[in-house]
């Protein structure tokens, strides 16, 4: 049996061929091409030559690297806020509310995330804009004299980003907290632990794999988000994916766009790698 499996069998070939084609044709080769393209430019004669210009442009032009740092900082901030908002909800659903409701609540939690991100962002737009629903009610209640534009600023953008990717934090947190034995919390309580020490010394260490996997996905989705910063972040809140889009679609400078894409890829993988190292988790365990 084992000896037979080491040899190449028909089922093995059936399984391995489509997987290899998928991974090499759609993941590996395109990314190699992305890397190669980012080191090429068109010279004055119109021929393509090797060059570092695309990367030098990035450092020369402050708007590029400022947008890049801004995107990274806001993505990290968004991930932290998402965690802080989600942990109490996950804890409530798994440990506090009566078990009869916990299934219903977690189902309710999932519902909005089946709906397209565009619809959710659009919902926020009609709630928050100058002629929006919230302004309407505030004016009616006499709390405002004239409508206020609540869109197109950084606070709204971060709120939108948190809203967009919250599910990917709540779900892993619920699944790790379900496996936390209640008697550990009871024991800590009997020994005189307060809420703060129970949270930091029992709940968070136990929930670490869920926190890391949620954090990675939220961070990656936020960093690569285009819709939310573009629609409710407004003109002056530049996001790095918008720079990539501009290079590809507006300026039609694909080589420059490829360099930006590669920089974004390096940024996301290195921050994810640092996150894994700091928390001593492995990627293959985290995605389980």
């Amino acid at each position: 049996m084992n000896a037979a499996r080491a040899r190449i069998t028909l089922p093995f070939l059936i399984f391995v061929t489509p997987v290899l084609m998928w991974l090499f044709l759609l993941i590996v080769l395109p990314h190699i091409d992305l890397l190669l393209m980012s080191f090429r430019i068109e010279d004055d004669a119109g021929a393509t030559v090797w060059s570092l210009v695309n990367y030098l442009n990035f450092f020369d032009e402050p708007v590029y690297w400022r947008t890049f740092t801004r995107t990274a900082v806001y993505a990290i901030l968004t991930t932290m806020i998402t965690f802080a908002v989600s942990l109490p909800v996950a804890f409530y659903i798994t440990k506090v509310v009566s078990p009869r409701f916990s299934g219903f609540l977690s189902l309710l939690l999932l519902m909005p995330f089946w709906v397209s991100e565009l619809v959710r962002v659009y919902g926020w737009m009609i709630l928050l804009r100058e002629s929006g629903v919230i302004n309407h009610f505030l004016l009616k209640a006499g709390l405002l004299q004239r409508p206020v534009e609540m869109l197109y600023n950084d606070v709204t953008m971060v709120m939108g980003l948190v809203y967009t990717s919250m599910l990917f934090m709540v779900v892993p947190l619920i699944s790790v907290l379900e496996s936390l034995d209640d008697s550990l919390i009871e024991a800590a309580y009997d020994l005189g632990g307060n809420v703060f020490s129970i949270v930091t010394r029992i709940i968070i260490p136990h929930a670490m794999p869920g926190i890391v996997s949620g954090g990675i996905v939220v961070f990656m989705l936020t960093l690569g988000n285009y819709l939310t910063p573009n629609l409710i972040g407004g003109k002056n809140s530049l996001w790095f994916t918008e720079q990539i889009y501009n290079q590809f679609i507006a300026s039609f400078n694909w080589n420059q766009g490829a360099a930006f894409g590669f920089l974004l890829l390096i940024l996301s993988s290195s921050i994810i790698w640092i996150g894994l190292k700091l928390t001593r988790q492995k990627l293959s365990q985290v995605v389980q």
Partner: protein, 284 residues
């Protein structure tokens, strides 16, 4: 602190309030979008001017409901077609992937497994541009050396399908693998002892066992494809999918038709999610 421990009233009340606010935050944008789809006004805004179905059914010069809006209708059709092919391909390949990583042993398995996980940590925008670039490179190669014009390599329907397939397959692989891990391999051994070939075992026994996971993965793949924006943005040609069409409309100002489309999407996806969930509950 938890159910089994004595809690102060303010703790319980505060917690309840927080979770209630959280759910309001969660549902407010969807609720408002749905309600304003039925407002008898030219703009998706309050004040409430009365209930109407015109944003769905009307075909008037100043008001075209969604059922007569050819732009959005054709985008919905494109999205359905894309989602159909993406879920077929990714379910097939993802199931192969699950078998490969759960039941086979080979050199570089760990490395290939890592590669399979990569699309989860690569931003969708990057997947989109890298596939666009690679298709363009291939297209130029075919044109220059073989003087063949291959439509597949230009932005368009099939490139969108391939782009979405590239990361949705990873999700299918993970979903099907999770179920395959629970499979009792002695069932396979029994069938093999009784003279079945490996392929017969897979077809008659393992795939039967995996069916709920495969159907569930198909539904998830369909939804993910239907609402994908980031990867699709760079790969669309003249036939745009619904999220892209809606984005272009929202960016340039909005009419309640968008609310009507959103309402249909919310109802549709919720129904699909509930059906999928009750189906997987029954099988458990």
């Amino acid at each position: 602190m938890i159910r089994s421990l004595p809690n102060t009233r303010s703790y319980t009340l505060g917690f309840k309030l927080y979770v209630a606010l959280f759910f309001v935050f969660l549902f407010a944008p969807l609720f408002v979008t749905c309600v304003l789809a039925f407002n008898d006004s030219q703009f998706p805004a309050l004040p409430w001017k009365g209930f109407t179905l015109e944003w769905f059914t009307a075909d008037l010069p100043e008001r075209v409901g969604i059922f007569h809006d050819s732009l959005n209708l054709s985008a919905i059709q494109v999205s359905f077609k894309v989602a159909f092919w993406v879920s077929i391909f990714s379910t097939l390949v993802g199931t192969c992937g699950a078998f490969l990583f759960e039941q086979e042993n080979f050199r570089f398995k760990q490395a290939l497994y890592f590669l399979m996980l990569a699309p989860l940590v690569v931003p969708g925008v990057i997947l989109g541009i890298s596939i666009l670039l690679f298709a363009n490179t291939l297209g130029m190669f075919f044109e220059n050396t073989l003087s063949m014009d291959v439509p597949l390599f230009r932005p368009g329907f099939w490139l969108v399908v391939l782009g979405q397939f590239s990361f949705i397959s990873t999700l299918v692989t993970l979903v099907v693998s999770a179920r395959l891990k629970k499979f009792d391999r002695s069932l396979e051994e029994a069938a093999l002892n009784l003279g079945a070939t490996r392929l017969q075992v897979i077809w008659h026994i393992t795939l039967k066992f995996l069916r709920p996971a495969i159907i569930g993965a198909f539904a998830v793949a369909f939804l993910m494809s239907f609402e994908n924006f980031n990867t699709t943005l760079f790969l669309v040609g003249s036939q745009t999918t619904l999220p892209i069409t809606l984005y272009l409309q929202v960016r340039d100002g909005s009419t309640p038709v968008i609310n009507a489309v959103s309402f249909l999407l919310i109802v549709g996806t919720s129904l699909l999610a509930v059906i999928n969930l009750s189906f997987s509950r029954k099988k458990e």
